[in-house]
Amino acid sequence: MVLKINNVSKNFGGISALTDISFSINKGEIFGLIGPNGAGKTTMFNCITSIFPPSSGEILFLDENITGIKPHKITNKGICRTFQNIRLFSQMSVLENVLVGGHSQSHSGVFSGVFRTKSQRNEEEKLRSTARELLELVGLSEFEDAVAENLAYGQQRRLEIARALASDPKLLLLDEPAAGMNDTETADLYYLIKKVQERGVTTLLIEHDMPLVMRLCDRITVLNFGKKLAEGTPEEIQNNQEVIEAYLGSEGDDDIA
């Protein structure tokens, strides 16, 4: 088991955003986290990555309790994420963004960085070659030197994935990677996430594009108003009466079928 969420709750000044959520993700899975807007999906991500720790409950990563440790330590342990509202280092080049993603995979400090010791040069070379390989994976090789903020929207989303992969995560958290993408881009994204799976990375996916979720995910958990509504295979979820009602009750844009 890669990730185990045990009875996690999160309150914001009396308003509960998550109530007693539990689920677990197996190695190599693509696991979907869906639900209407405001269901608490991104809050769940923020709890896992310790942007804010849960109010109660615990989060186990590879059997280790990681609840509430510093965010950068979470990344060092092997969890990395993308953001719903793209948060690239907008004035850096595409390549530099991925290099920053490799921060946790490198160690050189001020001294070795300035005097370019042999180990530092090796490390930097390795970082660069990994970064280029990842850019190729997400199809951005030709934009290596472009400034990140000048990329098209879909490209920015893919760059975020490459940046996250540069930290060599065992668990990748994707927060609405298809948002704002057209059909072709979404199709590309499908193959990209599949390729990431082939690399042995486990993926936890928040997404509103239901056809994509249903095709990609091995298992899905549905949240509604901060509570867990259902869990199961895409088929089970699609036929779950409660889930259908929850979605019908919300705005129509997230049609589940």
């Binding site: 942007i51 990344t75 280092f89 530092q120 930097e124």
Partner: protein, 319 residues
């Protein structure tokens, strides 16, 4: 002949430019991780007083004093930096401004050590020590056609130029390394940087302390070039001077604060009438820069353009 060309006054202005460039670098390096510190004048004072007191009272060589001054400023920088990290943006600016004022008040009031607002005089000067050293080793400035004071000012300037080149080299190398990337990432998006595994506490304290070390270092050099320091040298106005180097020259690239420091030091010297209205002009510059060119005169596109024009002119000469 050489002697006529070397005007001690120009040489001294050159030395001040070099010291101010170090101060400009100090605010640049702190800003490179997104932190605005208005405490540079305070750290400068710490460096200056530490080195001056060590060399006056304990007869330590200047170089030891200067290094000690930079280190003490750095240590205090870490002590101030760690708690200040909980502050962001304007709060950090105000807290560091407050720190600078507290430092000044202490320098004025701790009379038994600092001689109060009168200041310290008789600080060993780099130039004189060099002259003594060269005499002891049997070298006479006259043999290369220089008067003593010309030789002294020239040597001081040379030393400062070498120090500056080393510092700029150091910072450029650092910028291009993993540490520099971490600074830049924190500046652009702290949350995203943290999510990429960057220990933001460590890197922010690192850049804050580097800024403090540079300020303290510049302060110590200032003391040994001037030979005389008083708390007024490290007041709020000094902090504004240093701020304007980065704001006017450009705070995004290292060349910005270097250019800013050099330009702003030269300006009142070249245009004498300006020196009376200096702060009036500084005030206007700050307002106008924020309104029309908040990134400062020198920014990345400008640098790229300069490179481009260079390349183009090369092609042009071929044709």
């Amino acid at each position: 002949m050489l002697g006529d060309l070397i005007n001690p006054y120009y040489l001294q202005v050159g030395s001040f430019i070099m010291i101010n460039i170090i101060l400009g670098l100090s605010i640049y390096i702190t800003l490179s991780s997104g932190q605005l510190s208005l405490g540079s004048a305070g750290f400068m004072g710490i460096g200056a007083y530490t080195s001056a007191l060590l060399t006056i009272n304990y007869d330590l060589p200047i170089i030891v004093g200067v290094i000690a001054g930079a280190l003490v400023a750095g240590i205090i920088g870490i002590l101030i930096g760690i708690p200040s990290l909980r502050l962001t943006g304007v709060y950090l600016a105000i807290a560091t401004l407050g720190f600078g004022e507290v430092m000044r008040v202490f320098l004025v009031n701790w009379e038994s050590v600092t001689k109060g607002s009168v200041g310290l005089s008789g600080i060993p000067q780099i130039g004189r020590e060099l002259l003594k050293f060269s005499r002891d080793s049997g070298f006479s400035p006259m043999s290369i056609g220089l008067k003593n004071n010309q030789f002294v000012y020239l040597m001081v300037l040379l030393i400062l130029v070498i120090i500056n080149i080393l510092l700029i080299w150091f910072l450029i190398r650092q910028n291009k390394s993993r540490v520099g990337r971490a600074f830049a990432a924190i500046k652009m998006d702290e949350k995203a940087a943290e999510a990429m595994g960057i220990n933001i506490t460590y890197y922010k304290v690192l850049s804050f302390a580097q800024g403090a070390i540079l300020s303290g270092f510049a302060g110590a050099l200032f003391a040994h070039v001037m030979g005389y320091i008083s708390p007024a040298d490290f007041s709020y106005h000094r902090a504004v001077d240093i701020l304007i180097y980065a704001v006017f020259g450009g705070s995004e690239v290292i060349w910005g604060s270097i250019f800013g420091a050099a330009f702003m030091t030269l300006l009142p010297e070249v245009l004498r009438f300006i020196s009376e209205y200096r702060y009036l002009i500084y005030g206007l510059v700050l307002v106008l820069m924020m309104a029309f060119r908040p990134q400062g005169i020198i920014d990345v596109p400008l640098l790229q353009k300069l490179h481009l024009t260079k390349r183009r002119s090369k092609h042009g000469s071929k044709n």
